[in-house]
């Protein structure tokens, strides 16, 4: 492998590490958010039944309100992920893909 090809390959690996670091920066908090939201709700359902039975709006209790908020959270996260991926991840992925194609080792 020629020297500049090896350099391009190394550059591609560095770009991928950057991409992974960028992904972790967003995905770790987002994953914690939905896991805490949903698993936390089921923990409350198991151990704090009466708390979930507290009436919030008319006949609607806290449990159903939290369930509704979980739906909302999933949808908001889905849209947010789509935006973040397009703005932050895709350019980095494109950069790495370009570098690897310059290295001439693509199959």
């Amino acid at each position: 492998m020629a020297r500049d090809e090896a350099a391009a390959l190394a550059a591609a690996y560095v770009s991928v590490r950057q991409l992974i670091a960028e992904k972790l920066r967003y995905l770790v908090p987002m994953t914690i958010l939905f896991m805490v939201g949903y698993v936390g709700l089921t923990i409350l359902a198991g151990f704090a039944k009466d708390c979930l039975g507290t009436k919030v709006v008319g006949p609607l209790n806290l449990g159903f309100v939290l369930i509704a908020l979980n739906y909302l959270l999933s949808w908001v996260l889905a849209i947010a992920y789509g935006r973040i991926a397009a703005d932050k991840f895709d350019p980095l992925a494109a950069k790495a893909a370009m570098e690897i194609s310059q290295s001439g080792t693509t199959r």
């Binding site: 709700l41 089921t42 923990i43 009466d50 006949p59 739906y71 949808w75 996260l77 991926a85 693509t106």
Partner: protein, 507 residues
């Protein structure tokens, strides 16, 4: 009955026409397993919705909510939240590293024959554990809805799925799922509007009425899942198990690239999520309008709740509108089963024909024409086996298998998949360890639990994921450490990561 049958025959003719059309466009292996990766994100999103909403979702969630209140709503929420995991961690890497199967991903990371075998085992066990209750459910449901006998119902469903898959491959399977998703969402929308007109567009009235009729306890958690750890176990099983279900994950191969895979997940989250949210309202409405007694009288498990609600909303028993709505919902329920069993058959045939026969036995040295032939023949064989198992399953408690499918997916397939994608030191020993421990702990705990042994259970939880999932991860980590360092594999990891995150494969 006759309206149901009429509507269903129309749906069947449409799906057969689709299969005829798809069969003419299915000639290569890529066509057969992945519809040549030419679907759009929206098409795949609808197909995912059709794939993921099984009869357990379509009929089951509504029934559970009607009979047990809030626990049914938890059952419905989980399958949506599960797609967050898929969106963040799985969909794009799957698309970037695999070709047709889950085994492809593991194999492209490990490049060892043993790891491929482990991946095949995970796929086949999960798919059959999922397929058998679907067949048994189809038998019961079609008998209840149309009056034909259980055995004939199973045979009929089995033959239909064999025809779709063997002739039309992924393209036909996909369009059957899309048709079913559109029908299901239309049925949901009609029912929702009819419910809202009954309560003057104030859904809170539904809750107030339910509380009045069944006391405030009905709207509390814990009526169905008595053990608090079962609630949590269910949540874990869903959020992580979906990522280990091969028949859903292989849908990401049908789109051209990772961006389309990502967009298709956003589609399914809105389509299926809206339907799941709907089932909670439908269930409470059914408890109000139809009544729990009438629901239990029709089917103890509450599986006929949605058809009964539709009948009520259409004008009630004996009216034309009522019969039409009942027939429509019942026919959609049967279409639902067909869409799901087809996907399971296709994905299992991928594991047997592509992973096992072509890549393991023949080490990839099979020409394209023969591979397609083997794939079609395998799907016929799997379909026939599914029919036999479905017939044998009559009267057998298949509830344990439903739990097992999602539990094995979460405890064996998920750890192996996620560690393959993200852990440099993970190796073939880890794949074996994760699969064996995840599988064994799920099977043993499910078999000695209440779903199988009822009151004689040796173990308190219906769903063992809360224990088997950590065990699966532990097995994967210990397997990796015992196997020892695999330097070549670790060096290859940079190139693999590049492929995971960009889709570009390098030497």
């Amino acid at each position: 009955m006759s309206i149901t049958l009429g509507i269903f025959i129309v749906i069947l003719l449409i799906t057969l026409a689709i299969t005829y059309w798809a069969a003419k466009r299915t000639s290569t292996t890529a066509d057969f397993y992945a519809a040549d990766s030419r679907l759009t994100a929206a098409q795949n999103g609808f197909a995912l919705a059709g794939d993921w909403c099984s009869a357990a979702a379509f009929l089951g969630f509504t029934g559970l909510t009607a009979l047990y209140g809030m626990d049914g709503a938890f059952y419905a929420l989980g399958p949506l939240v599960a797609f967050c995991t898929v969106l963040f961690l799985i969909a794009e890497p799957m698309r970037n590293t695999g070709k047709y199967t889950l085994g492809d991903v593991i194999h492209s990371r490990m490049q060892t024959r043993t790891s491929l075998l482990a991946a095949i085992a995970g796929t086949v066990v999960v798919n059959f554990a999922y397929l058998m209750p679907q067949m048994a459910g189809a038998g019961v449901l079609v008998r209840l809805l149309t009056g034909i006998s259980y055995d004939w119902a199973v045979i009929f469903v089995g033959i239909s799925m064999i025809v779709y898959v063997a002739f039309g491959g992924m393209l036909a399977t996909t369009w059957v799922q899309i048709v079913k998703a559109v029908l299901m969402l239309s049925a949901g929308a009609i029912i929702l509007v009819l419910i809202l007109t009954q309560v003057h567009f104030n859904p809170l009235t539904l809750f107030a009425e339910a509380e009045q009729k069944y006391t405030a306890k009905y709207l509390l958690p814990g009526n169905y899942l008595k053990n608090p750890f079962d609630q949590i176990s269910l949540a874990l099983g869903y959020t992580l198990g979906l990522s280990g279900l091969p028949h859903v994950m292989t849908r990401f191969y049908t789109v051209p690239d990772a961006k389309a895979a990502r967009r298709s997940v956003v589609w399914v989250m809105f389509l299926a999520g809206a339907f799941f949210a709907g089932t909670t309202l439908f269930g409470i409405a059914a408890a109000d309008f139809v009544g729990q007694d009438a629901i239990r009288a029709a089917d103890k498990g509450g599986n006929l709740t949605l058809p009964l609600l539709a009948q009520y909303l259409g004008g009630g028993k004996g009216t034309f509108g009522g019969d039409l709505m009942l027939g429509f919902v019942a026919a959609v329920a049967v279409a639902t089963i067909l869409a799901v069993v087809s996907a399971l058959t296709l994905s299992t045939s991928g594991a047997i024909a592509h992973d096992f026969y072509v890549n393991w036995v023949k080490r990839g040295q099979v020409d394209g024409k023969r591979e397609v032939w083997v794939a079609r023949a395998t799907s016929v064989a799997i379909g026939l086996l599914a029919i036999a198992l479905g017939v044998l399953a009559q009267g057998v408690n298949v509830a344990v298998l439903v739990i097992l499918a999602i539990c094995v997916a979460a405890s064996a397939n998920f750890p192996v998949l996620i560690l393959s994608l993200f852990w440099r030191r993970f190796n073939t020993g880890g794949v074996i360890g994760g699969m064996v421990v995840g599988l064994a702990s799920s099977v043993v705990l499910a078999m000695i639990g209440p779903a199988m042994r009822g009151a004689d259970a040796l173990w308190p939880l219906v769903n063992p994921t809360i224990v088997s999932l950590p065990l699966g991860f532990l097995g994967a980590v210990l397997g990796t450490l015992i196997w020892g360092r695999d330097r070549e594999n670790e060096q290859r990891f940079d190139a693999f990561l590049l492929q995971v995150h960009t889709g570009v494969a390098s030497k």
